[in-house]
């Protein structure tokens, strides 16, 4: 019987445009074939978010654009432009 597993790719981009530069990345593999982890590579898998689309990844979530909190306009925290992609793999 064929089952389906999800592979997830998270890209952090330079600005809110999907074709902007990748500045950070993470991968999770529901097939169990690989075990990506913290600090396992220095080069991103794609140069831009669109690069992932061109390789067959499907975008399923993007960060909303949230105005800065009043009084905290200059505070920095999490990366702002986070895009979640998936591939569904048959096993």
């Amino acid at each position: 019987m064929t089952t389906t597993r999800q592979q997830v790719l998270v890209l952090y981009l330079d600005n809110s445009a999907l074709d902007s530069r990748v500045v950070g990345w993470a991968r999770y593999d529901g097939t169990g074939a690989t075990r990506p982890t913290t600090g396992d590579s220095d080069e991103p898998p794609y140069g831009t978010g669109v690069g992932a689309l061109e390789d067959g990844w499907r975008l399923f979530q993007a960060s909303p654009l949230i105005p800065p909190y009043p009084g905290a306009e200059h505070a920095t925290s999490f990366l702002k432009h986070e895009f979640f992609f998936e591939k569904l793999v048959s096993q």
Binding site: N15, V23, G39, H74, T76
Partner: protein
Amino acid sequence: MSTTKQLLSSAEVARFTAHGFLRLDGVVPREMNEEALGLFAAGTLPAVPYGTPVPTAFPEASFTRRLLELPVVAGALESLVGPDPEIDHHFVHVRMPHEGSAQALHADALIDVRPDAFDVQLMYYPQEVTADMGGTLVVPGSHLRRINESDTGRYQNLRGQTRLTCPAGTVLLLHHGIWHGGRRNDSDTVRHMYKIRFNPTVPQVRLWDTRDLDSPAVREELGRFFPWYEQATGRLEIHNRVLLWRSLSADPGFDIEHWATRIANRPGASAVPTATAATAAPTAQGSTA
């Protein structure tokens, strides 16, 4: 070997202010590194209560005291955290061979946004750290971001990250807010890292050798843009760095590219009556009540 402590230059402290850490490669002598590996394996370092002065925590001639008295280490520590800091805690971290997982990217302790003070963490590596030994992951320029502990665990890799490899006897000094984590050890060797956290007991103002305070190298360091910064947020990082440098250098007019000066310019603002200002600022609901 010199026995006089070697204070950092302004450019080096500016580099710490921008990067959030400094590395001192191979500064601990070989015989001390060998001694450390024996001590760490035996687990015989003494427990130290929070807030203990260095001389009380580590008696004369003890290993840690000698480590902290190495002139280059003593000078760098005094330049950043000041004389007579207190020991917050110390611990030997061990990454076992082929243990299979890495630590989540994190900052230590609690979210800590002190604008004019910081703790310094010393990380000491008594053995050579090669690429497959899972040397500490450090994210340059992450120390001023407001995050709490391992909430950053989702970030596996960031452009420009440092996956530490170093010669034996290397010491890192880090701002308390730096994002870091122990990486997966894929080698056959046990990896040790000894961490000591220091709390300042004096204002952290001009504690270093300031003779080069006006050097172009200071501005060059403080204006640094790291590869993982988003374009817009990277500008905020430099703004926040400027504010920290103003505090450290006691120079309230210091700026990079006019970032901090421009947005503080409010001619006549002090002449505006309080009631008028309040009326002019609607609440989130659109009411002026």
